[in-house]
């Protein structure tokens, strides 16, 4: 039965996250962007919402809830509406927890899930992207060579969020050669198991600490391998679905700001919003944000139903990323010169939004 209505629990979840976005994240978003640091108390408070542990079984210290992609896209949109860097940081543990939930052995689950502390942010993260022009996800360069009891990892990873502080990092690599996603597995590497190189300096996402990693013969024991058995495409679908939802959030932030500004800003004796050129642009933005959100919902719904959502998530991510440029660019445009100065947050959202087309595995549902 088709429905576009959130359940009561989902509505509550949305309101809680929206409140956190507006009252906590937004208060610090600009200083965080300028300084490149997210205040520790924001990460702590965000972590205490329990968003990265809700689905972990009670036996392993979690809340024992369902892993719901639909719930997750609702959360992701609201938090990204607050601030993208903070969202990615706060939710980074899910980058490893969710793959573990789906593909981990009981031993792995027990070991790592219990490392998640409800009152203390203990980061996990994942490393997928590699530092190469025209990065190709289908032919990862990072290799995992079978060496008896261990696998030996060699390669470089880039744009790895919070790699400097994460307790463990899920590194995606291939055991054999050849193209395609099917041969990719996850390798759990503890802190210190690789060299954390320089911090990435990005156009946007400036508050988020991302790093290049160098894996130079890092040894991973056999029982620390997350065997995906061809499931990497599914993980990618989950990450791309997350990306659609994040896009909706950043776009909505920019749109709402531009809308409020357009109603206040007087030109030629009238608010600029009373001119069709501005009003129609806002209408177009509103329409596209609705469409992006619905695409995230549809893809998440498919995932929750156990359907193959790879195509839906992939084309949705691309559509959302493209449209995000239209939306955030126009938001800056509506503010005119004020959209270009850092006194207003719109230029930050414009820079942040550019990340969606070029990032992979920034978050997961």
């Amino acid at each position: 039965m088709v429905s576009f209505e959130l359940s009561e629990e989902q509505a509550l979840l949305r309101d809680t996250c929206r409140d956190f976005a507006l009252t906590i994240m937004r208060k610090q978003d600009r200083p965080a962007d300028e300084s490149g640091e997210i205040p520790a108390d924001i990460i702590k408070q965000g972590h205490e919402l329990g968003l990265t542990t809700g689905y972990i079984p009670e036996a392993y210290g979690g809340a024992g809830g369902q892993l719901s992609a639909l719930d997750s896209v609702i959360v992701l949109e609201e938090l990204a509406y607050g601030n993208l860097s903070m969202t990615v940081n706060i939710l980074a543990p899910s980058l490893m927890n969710v793959p573990l939930m789906l593909y981990g052995t009981e031993e792995q689950k027990k070991k790592y899930f219990t490392m998640n502390k409800p009152d203390q942010f203990q980061g996990f993260t994942a490393a997928l992207v590699e530092p190469s022009v025209r990065f190709d996800i289908e032919s990862l360069k990072t290799t995992a060579a079978d060496d008896g009891d261990d696998f030996v990892l060699n390669g470089e990873k880039a744009f790895v969020s919070i790699a400097d502080s994460a307790l463990a990092t899920l590194v995606f690599a291939k055991k054999g050669s050849g193209e395609g996603l099917a041969g990719i597995d996850g390798f759990i590497v503890p802190a210190g198991g690789f060299t954390v190189k320089e911090r990435e300096k990005n156009q946007g996402l400036r508050a988020l600490k991302q790093f290049t990693l160098s894996l130079d013969g890092s040894r991973v024991a056999r029982n620390e391998v997350l065997k995906l058995s061809g499931g990497f495409a599914n993980l990618l679908a989950r990450a791309r679905t997350a990306s659609i939802a994040l896009t909706a959030g950043v776009c909505r932030a920019a749109y709402e700001y531009a809308l409020a500004y357009a109603k206040e800003r007087i030109a030629f004796g009238e608010p600029i919003a009373s001119r069709q050129s501005v009003a129609f642009t806002l209408a177009e933005m509103a329409m596209e944000i609705d469409a992006i959100r619905l695409m995230a919902w549809k893809s998440a719904w498919m995932l929750d139903k156990g359907m193959d959502a790879y195509k839906e998530a992939s084309l949705g991510k691309r559509y959302a990323a493209d449209t995000a440029m239209f939306i955030t660019r126009n938001a800056t445009q509506i503010l005119g010169g004020h959209g270009f100065v850092r006194e207003h947050p719109v230029e930050m959202w414009y820079r942040d939004a550019r990340s969606f087309a070029v990032s992979e595995f920034m978050a997961i549902v």
């Binding site: 039965m1 088709v2 429905s3 576009f4 209505e5 959130l6 359940s7 989902q10 639909l70 025209r134 990065f135 190709d136 996800i137 289908e138 990618l236 791309r240 809308l259 357009a262 109603k263 919003a273 009373s274 069709q276 009003a279 129609f280 806002l282 209408a283 177009e284 509103a286 329409m287 596209e288 609705d290 469409a291 992006i292 619905l294 695409m295 919902w297 549809k298 719904w301 498919m302 139903k305 790879y310 195509k311 839906e312 998530a313 992939s314 084309l315 949705g316 991510k317 691309r318 559509y319």
Partner: protein
């Protein structure tokens, strides 16, 4: 709970209408495009019988503006009636995929019926819908546009002058879809210019009423299988019982006309999506199915071909438009105000259908331009979907006023 699962009825309706579109409509689509103004008599009869046997019609029977009946119903069943609007959107996408021109030829309540459902009294609904859902093919037309106005429906110049139990209508109506074959015309007229919008009323004029004349047929860019007529009213006497909503001053007139669109815009959007999909399916069939092109969703751009990415873009746009449309229809089914969402759906679908059908011709090359294939027809058919039932600009105006909380005066 958010859900995209079709009910068994929706699945059945989609499959059935798709097969009908493919087997009955596609084979004759070119013929009735070329033979503009020739009535597809056999198609009309056959389609009428088919839908009648199924008890299905494209009436927007749950159109808004019927809160009284709805709340009563709600008490009885505590849930909305079958989701007619969403079901209609799903089915009409398939039908329009067959041929958008022929789609508009399918008998039934049509736009006139939608207006009656939105603005009529219970008695009127019963009386007129009986005609429109009758045993022989019938059609309800909407006569709103005039030579002097299109989007600005408040500029109605057709006059209605009271004369005892009758109103005398005078004026010219254009762009009346199905105006050549309608059994009922919902004619919008003013009781007096000085009354402004509140003076605009809708009258049901039955075929054969003296003074009602079909003056000429338009020659159009597309949807040629469906005729668009100019209708002239010359001292046309209409009984006061045919004034939609009754004579009471506070009853809906102009507002009723506008409410009609809350129900019909998602349907029009769904048709536009059907056309976009027909063009997409056509090029997909050739490039992917016949010639082995792979669409590698999510593969890095530097490893992908142009056509591959264009096909993906088309699919994404169609999907975006469809989701907006389903949501707008679903809201109507659940008695939620959907003015903004209906316009969003229509605006998006109207843009997407033009883009997709244009691009499909380009992909197909010179063959795409040829009348041997239907691609060029779909591009011509598509254009009107960003025009009728409110242009793309009007949709954006409606959305903009809603999001800005602006009145007509604040945002012109």
């Amino acid at each position: 709970m958010i859900d995209f699962e079709f009910t068994p009825i929706m699945k059945m309706a989609r499959e059935f209408t798709h097969n009908y579109a493919r087997d009955v409509m596609r084979p004759i689509a070119r013929k009735y495009d070329e033979e503009e103004h020739v009535e597809p008599t056999e198609f009309i009869q056959k389609t009428h019988e088919m839908f009648r046997s199924l008890g299905f019609s494209f009436s927007t029977a749950n159109a808004s503006g019927d809160s009284e009946e709805k709340s009563e119903h709600k008490e009885k069943h505590d849930r909305p009636k079958m989701e007619m609007n969403l079901l209609g959107a799903i089915a009409i996408e398939e039908i329009a995929w067959g041929c958008p021109g022929l789609t508009l030829r399918i008998p039934g309540p049509g736009l006139g019926g939608a207006a009656i459902m939105a603005a009529g009294t219970p008695e009127q609904k019963k009386r007129f819908m009986k005609v429109l859902n009758g045993p022989k093919p019938s059609y309800g037309a909407m006569a709103l546009t005039e030579p002097g106005f299109g989007s600005d429906a408040s500029a109605v110049a057709t006059t209605a002058v009271k004369d005892g139990d009758y109103y005398i209508l005078n004026g010219t109506k254009i762009f009346v879809t199905g105006g050549d074959m309608a059994d009922l015309y919902v004619v919008w007229a003013t009781l007096g210019k000085d009354l402004g919008r509140s003076g605009i009323k809708a009258f049901v004029v039955e075929k054969g009423t003296p003074g009602l004349k079909m003056a000429r047929l338009e020659h159009k860019l597309g949807i040629r299988a469906s005729d668009t007529a100019e209708v002239v009213l010359e001292d046309c006497r209409v009984h006061k019982d045919n004034l939609l909503g009754g004579e009471k001053k506070e009853e809906k007139g102009f507002k009723g006309a506008m409410q009609t669109f809350d129900a019909t815009r998602p349907m029009v959007a769904a048709m536009a999506i059907g056309i976009a999909r027909s063009a997409y399916d056509f090029v997909y069939e050739d490039f992917v199915v016949k010639n082995g092109l792979e669409i590698n969703y999510g593969r890095p751009l530097h490893k992908r071909g142009y056509i591959e990415t264009v096909l993906e873009d088309m699919e994404a746009k169609i999907s975006a438009a469809r989701l907006l449309t389903w949501k707008a229809a679903w809201m109507l089914d659940h008695s939620l105000p959907n003015l903004k969402e209906a316009s969003m759906a229509k605006a998006k679908a109207g843009t997407v259908v033009d883009e997709v059908t244009q691009k499909a011709i380009e992909l197909y090359g010179p063959e795409g331009y040829s009348r041997k294939h239907l691609l060029e027809k779909w591009m011509r058919d598509a254009k009107v979907y960003d025009v009728f039932e409110g242009t793309g600009q009007i949709q954006r105006l409606v959305v903009a006023r809603a999001i800005l909380d602006y009145t007509r005066k604040e945002l012109k």
